[in-house]
């Protein structure tokens, strides 16, 4: 009987378990979970603080998931060392495995800011425990300073907005969500958040901290009660790196999710896999890719044959009623559809759609995403028609026949 060890207990781990079980119903699966929680949906921690979900509904899979899938879960232990055939935990226990998945995720990057140690109430915003400890100190008169106007920082702001006195978000970048939005789109989102009471200090960063005061680079001072650090994340690639595996910004994997070390796979936010939108490897820390990468790894670990070679960056995220979607890259020629309250931007290159940003108009966006993924030549479809409203009408009758008249 084959033995599998999965380091990590998040989305990639679940994908891996389901991938293994699609092939091997009996092999022994051991899951090593550093967090003392049943697998939960990480991106839901802001919704939890916003009272839009609760601990029960945040569970990514049912309570019986591990039992149903014949998994042994070791909680509260960290894997410190891996070899080709075993994983060593921080209590020195060694667990044998024929195939090992590293799904260790990422951790917050905390820049070395002078005086950070003088701040009493400081938090990251990555894990359920982060959210639960942050929740304990929130009060109606708290002044919150969030360092980082990316997805994590802004989701945190949305989550706590109704539970605190004020929120200021600063970022070294000159716009919000700089990883997924261009200047114009970012300005719309920023305006919307400002209308909802969130203050911004962009192109600026904390130079020094002293207790409840932040001294900003541009000379101003911000008084706060609670500090949230959401500058960025770093892949937890150490297990593979120390074992001599190839590591860049994340653990380097091929399209089968194999690392450079035999029998060892990696998936999720710790892995650096192929990004089809740019044609090279990149860490794509988004949940769908974690699941698909984990599932691909699981199938291959169990002796099946699966590849994940069409990953692209994509995000769907809402902030206080405004929905934003983005996908691909923005290197091509831009065209747009605009109304008073919405903006859609499309980027085309070499006769194909390479990226888009949608603000407030997200209907049937998956049709656009598929155009990127499938590398559909735009001359074969009526692309202009679909910019206003995404539609299957742009495809030929024959293709529609396959999509809606056949098993897909």
């Amino acid at each position: 009987m084959k033995k599998y060890v999965i380091i990590g207990n998040g989305t990639a781990a679940v994908g891996c378990i389901e991938g293994i079980r699609s092939i091997d119903k009996t092999g022994e699966i051991t899951v090593i979970s550093e967090e003392n929680h049943h697998v939960y949906s990480r991106p839901l921690i802001s919704y939890y603080l916003e009272n839009k979900t609760d601990l029960e509904h945040m569970k990514y899979r049912d309570d019986s998931f591990y039992k149903d899938n014949g998994c042994r879960v070791i909680y509260g232990k960290k894997a410190v060392k891996i070899s080709r055939t075993s994983v060593t935990l921080d209590d020195k226990t060694a667990i044998k495995g024929d195939k090992i998945l590293v799904a260790t995720g990422s951790r917050p990057f905390v820049p070395p800011i002078a005086g950070l140690d003088t701040v009493e109430k400081k938090f990251g915003f990555m894990t359920l425990d982060d959210a639960l400890t942050l929740e304990k100190v929130l009060s109606k008169d708290s002044r919150v300073l969030i360092v980082g106007a990316g997805l994590i920082g802004l989701k945190c702001a949305e989550g706590i907005r109704d539970r605190v006195g004020s929120i200021t978000v600063c970022d070294l970048a000159d716009r919000v969500l700089s990883s997924i939005l261009d200047n114009d789109c970012a300005a719309i989102v920023q305006k919307h958040l400002e209308k909802n009471g969130i203050k911004f200090m962009l192109g600026d960063t904390v130079e020094r901290l002293d207790g409840n005061k932040a001294f900003m680079k541009n000379g101003s001072e911000v008084n706060f009660d609670i500090l949230v650090m959401a500058v960025g994340v770093r892949a937890n690639s150490e297990p593979v790196k120390t074992a001599g595996g190839e590591v860049n910004r994340g653990i380097i994997v091929n399209s089968k999710m194999e690392t450079s070390l035999p029998h060892i796979y990696a998936a999720g936010d710790c892995a650096e896999g192929f990004d089809a939108s740019i044609g090279k490897n990149r860490v794509l820390a988004i949940l769908p890719n974690a699941y698909i990468g984990g599932h691909t790894a699981g199938v291959n670990m169990a002796g099946g044959d699966s590849v994940f070679d069409n990953a692209i960056p994509m995000n769907s995220i809402g902030f206080l009623g405004l929905h934003i979607m983005s996908a691909g890259n923005y290197s091509g020629v831009c065209s747009e559809e605009k109304t008073d309250n919405t903006l859609k931007r499309f980027f085309t290159k070499d006769g194909k759609l390479c990226g888009f940003i949608l603000i407030g108009a997200t209907e049937r966006a998956g049709i656009y995403t598929a155009l990127i993924r499938d590398k559909t030549p735009l001359k074969t479809i009526d692309f202009d028609l679909t910019k206003k409203v995404a539609s299957n009408f742009i495809f030929s009758k024959k293709i529609r026949g396959k999509k809606f008249g056949g098993v897909v």
Binding site: S41, N315, S316, T362, A365, N392, K403, F404, G405, V407
Partner: protein, 146 residues
Amino acid sequence: MKRVYVNEEWCLGCHLCEYNCAFANSGLKDMAFALKDKKIFPRIHIEGDNKISFAVSCRHCTDPICVKSCIAGAISKVDGVVKIDRNKCVGCLTCVLVCPYGALAPAEDGIMQKCELCLHNSCGAPACVAGCPNKAIVYEERGEEK
């Protein structure tokens, strides 16, 4: 398994499927009471122009990307049917972003809903198909690809 398939040459673009869907999932007994003067949020919609039209609803894909992409673990495939747990959904619309058929849209409350083939409402089989006047959508077995 049986799915809803489209015969687009027969579609009249009458939108009855949308109304039958909204009614079937309203939980109400009277169609006029359920739909009259209300904006409807059906799980099937008509696309096309004056000449060609066709209905779009969940394809219950063999390998559904919405299930793999849902950030809340709210979408699952049970006995071939792709289902959503609306109590887990937080309305992030990631499924809308990934569905290549554009088949998904949120309900009035912003939380996702989707076609579950009417297997769990009072119809027991797709109401859109039952009410289609021209057999432009059918509910049948067309064989599974390996």
